[in-house]
């Protein structure tokens, strides 16, 4: 069935197809429609799940921790301040190796209060050990929810799905809606290897001495490394079932490109339109969308970018005191393997529009080398 739905509802439809047993969430703009539709789906019986309407995001995530520890699928969604309030629990879910799935609608962090998009909320969770996948369309969003559970349960790590506030969350697009009966063949019912069970009692999460803790962290990193392949395999398998795949990165017209623009989220679509326009003008330019952010797809990124003469990274985020965060990641992925120059561009913070004109300015600068710094170029800032 094809339907015109908003990005937030694409999240809900993805969850509806996954046999999720416990939902727990707290409202925050721009995430609200995700949980409103899920509440309706639970109330109507379309989803057979318990929906715990908690008093905070900290409780939303700890309720997911409890549910997942019981051995069932658990899901929550949030944004910005909510994600930040969950921070402590995000770490806990990783250490406990619980395959929870979370949708974060990227929203700028206050003050000043802002409900508009940028990536600082999710990117400041970079090192907690959650997988992060950045989505670009409503179809991809729905499909990625389904993929996320499969990935999470395979590597025993939680997965965060990320989409832009408003530009995606509130934008209506045609989505081929997934049905639970079809998804079941791809994502069978979840059987947890370890769980809270009175017939097989264990203590989970108790004191770990220096003689164990280190190894447990090593195992998390190994699982993350394994996830690099698992994300790819799950995507291929998804394509076999449903005819759609997204890759871990998405190169666009990169063959023979001198300059490659690196993007993520909805900026990727806008960028492709600019690439087409510039290619028509005979400029050898392409773009690379980063879909998988953690684990970082180092090889795929190297494969594409090492062939360029220049790389321009567009960041809708900033690590204060350093650079754009995707910029840092790209630099570290290429370090020591190629000397292709990499330029960083910060734009679109707090929901400032990243229009084709903005991207064209970045592309022109990258092509001409004029007026640009190596590490950090502010695009559109009024100072």
């Amino acid at each position: 069935m094809r339907k015109v739905i908003m990005g937030n509802h694409a999240v809900s439809y993805g969850v509806r197809a996954c046999d999720v047993k416990v939902l727990s969430a707290y409202p925050i703009t721009p995430q609200t429609q995700v949980v409103e539709l899920l509440s309706e789906m639970c109330a109507s019986g379309e989803i057979d799940a318990k929906f715990i309407k908690v008093e905070s995001e900290h409780s939303a995530m700890t309720a997911c921790v409890g549910a997942s520890a019981a051995g069932v699928r658990a899901f929550t969604a949030t944004s910005a301040q909510g994600l930040l309030l969950m921070h402590e629990v995000l770490h806990w879910a990783v250490g406990a190796r619980l395959p929870i799935v979370l949708a974060n609608i990227n929203r700028a962090v206050g003050p000043p209060w802002s409900i508009w998009t940028d990536q600082n909320d999710s990117l400041s969770q970079r090192d907690v050990g959650w997988l992060q996948i950045y989505c670009e369309s409503n179809q991809e969003t729905q499909d990625t929810i389904v993929q996320a559970f499969k990935i999470a349960e395979t590597v025993k790590l939680p997965v965060m799905l990320v989409l832009d506030a408003f530009f995606l969350s509130h934008t209506f697009e045609i989505v081929d809606i997934l049905e639970a009966k079809d998804v079941r063949k791809f994502l069978p019912p979840y059987v947890a290897e370890t769980k809270i069970d009175v017939d097989d009692p264990h203590s989970f999460g108790n004191l770990g001495s220096p003689s164990e803790y280190f190894e447990l962290r090593y195992m998390i990193q190994k699982a993350m490394e394994e996830a690099r392949d698992v994300v790819k395999d799950v995507d291929i398998e998804f394509k076999e079932h449903f005819g759609r795949g997204y890759g871990v990165v998405h190169p666009y017209r990169c063959d023979g490109a001198d300059v490659i623009l690196v993007t993520s989220g909805t900026v990727a679509s806008t960028t492709r339109a600019v690439i087409d326009e510039m290619r028509d003008e005979g400029i050898k330019i392409g773009s690379l969308k980063i879909r998988l952010f953690r684990p970082f797809p180092v090889e795929e990124v190297y494969e594409v970018l090492s062939k360029a003469k220049k790389v321009a990274v567009i960041d809708r985020n900033i690590s204060f005191g350093h650079h754009g965060i995707f910029f840092q990641e790209i630099k570290s992925a290429l370090y020591g393997r190629t000397d292709v120059p990499i330029f960083g561009y910060i734009t679109g913070l707090g929901g400032r529009d990243v229009t084709p004109k903005v991207i064209r300015e970045i592309a022109d600068r990258a092509v001409s080398d004029e007026k640009q710094e190596r590490d950090i170029n502010w695009i559109g800032v009024k100072v």
């Binding site: 318990k50 905070s56 409780s59 309720a63 409890g66 549910a67 009692p201 203590s203 999460g205 108790n206």
Partner: protein, 302 residues
Amino acid sequence: MRPAKIPTEELMTSGHLACQGCGATQAMRFALKAMGPKTALVIPACCWSVIDGPFPHTSLKVPICHTLFEAAASTASGLKAGLEMRGDTETVVMAWAGDGGTFDIGIQALSGAAERNEDIMYCCYDNEAYMNTGIQRSSATPVGAWTTTTPVAHYKKRPKKKIIDIMAAHSIPYIATASVAYPQDLIEKFRRAREIKGTRFMHVLAPCPTGWKLAPELSVAMARLAVTSRVFPLIEVTDNGSTWKVWKDFEQTPVADYMKPQGRFRHLTDKEIDSIEEEVDRNWQIMLSRERLSADLPGLER
């Protein structure tokens, strides 16, 4: 108080990491005797996250989901929902938290769970300070007490937070206080709570010899004196917070007898102890008047 048989079954083993005379450990042992093996515990950061024992050991024969300090009630809510959805409707989920995890940092999650009337038990073992981190004051620390953050020169000036009143205001089906000095009563109450649906809140006074500056062998005696001095009344609140029942069938003892053996109160003058006794008496009278009120009020569910 009717004597009840104490089950011989032990769900708590030796080899745990508690201090000598630890009331929290006695509370767990008796509570599990009442609860039985079909119980899953949720333990936030507190002494009990250590008492349980280091990985791969555990001193309990029931499953434990350790969790974050402020998250006992929310984790328990999720665990209960998850177990039910897995088809296990029998297991009782019991959050087991200290006073800090209950009165302070965990009160938001607890209030949320109680308001939703989650089908969980929540037991606060109350040793009246943050013992695990080295005896810092909590909002459960009684007025007059020394802790490492309320030194003698500036001992705790504010009274203990009235957690039972707070929980009663949530209209939950069952609330009870219990003491390790009265194990029969404790076991009966946990058994009663076990059979009720909805949020059940248990408050157990658990003397801490280390933090109270008390000889370990006086731990149970102190728990008893807390009850008989009426500092810690044994009560039950049922009918969604409206019916109060106070246990009065004991010989009253002076508050000074309770406070004097404890080093944490050593700096208090007799006059100060007298004024604490006045406060204890006022609280006792308030509780009795609530009991009378709930007995006299027409139309209350019995």
